[in-house]
Symmetry: C2
Subunit: 187 residues, 2 copies
């Protein structure tokens, strides 16, 4: 039941439909939590039943109607309680690292390609995050923003995401260099 916390945190940004959230939680944008649309719709229904979110149906003309969800007072309260709960160790599950660990008994070429893919992915994500950062800063310097903005949480997580992907690239390049040197030595 931890998905709901991520959903409530996302809803601090304002109303969103299940579809909107699905886009945000999609692997390509996901900040620190991933979820499929199905998961989200189910969770939103449950949360609505428990009074944590409220849905407002918006009838649309040229596309399916949608339900826009927003946080209720109870939801806000529960989110606040969540931030005060003891922290559970984060679940890391990175297949790439398992492959790298097994590279000596595995297909080195394929692992190489997987690392290269990860680098490309990280670059795309950085580009996205830089756009988001520009939007958040809205012309202010980082210092001005951090001193004056109403909400800094999303910015802080953005910084972490950026640093993570930059590190992925640095490490990935180093790993590729090491693997290439090995491959050359073998031949």
């Amino acid at each position: 039941m931890a998905l709901r916390n991520a959903v409530m945190a996302a809803l601090l940004e304002g109303e969103a439909s299940g579809y909107d959230l699905a886009k945000e939680f999609d692997a390509s944008v996901a900040n620190f939590w991933m979820a499929t649309p199905q998961q989200l719709y189910r969770e939103l229904d449950r949360m609505e039943a428990e009074g944590l979110v409220r849905a407002r149906v918006v009838e649309q003309e040229r596309r399916p109607n949608k339900r826009l969800f927003s946080l209720t007072e109870a939801g806000r309260r529960q989110l606040r309680e969540f931030t005060a709960e003891p922290l559970r160790p984060g679940a890391i599950r990175d297949e790439l690292m398992v492959k790298v660990r097994a590279v000596d008994a595995g297909d080195a070429g394929a692992v190489r390609a997987a690392i290269a893919e990860r680098i490309a992915w990280a670059e795309a994500k950085i580009a996205r995050w830089e756009r988001l950062r520009t939007r958040l800063l809205a012309g202010r310097t980082e210092d001005e923003f951090l001193a004056g903005a109403e909400r800094i949480g999303p910015y802080l997580t953005l910084l972490r995401g950026l640093a993570f992907e930059e590190e992925n690239i640095r490490w990935g390049r180093r790993a590729l260099a090491v693997l290439d040197r090995r491959a050359a030595a073998v031949q």
Copy 2:
């Protein structure tokens, strides 16, 4: 069924009991995959039934007997196949980041404490990894090691883990500074 890949990668290091693996996959030691003992014992049983691992019972005198698992040829083959499979996006699930994202509507003091906890944890993990690194290098320089060692996979993943935790510390200190400045400004 991805846990088995992590288990097989771990077994490249040599025989291990369920208990040994449980220690390695534990939250406090885990490199890139976490699992509880229960999960591991169950998975090992299944893997044994499928012929991926083989168990050897070691009778012990002053403690319970144990079963030491090792990779079979079929397991080694399957691990190799896994390294060549297309990569699925890694599942990130970091509660701390959800809390940070919600910090503006949450309990800032508690979030601060959670970040501090993460920093302390990262420091402990770095210490552990530095010890492991020293053991792996065994007196050689990194270059000597990377050029000559039989297995470099574990070293590459260690480098990634080290960089990740160092980044956690850097980011965490920055986030704490930002939160403190805010808290001071409010009062």
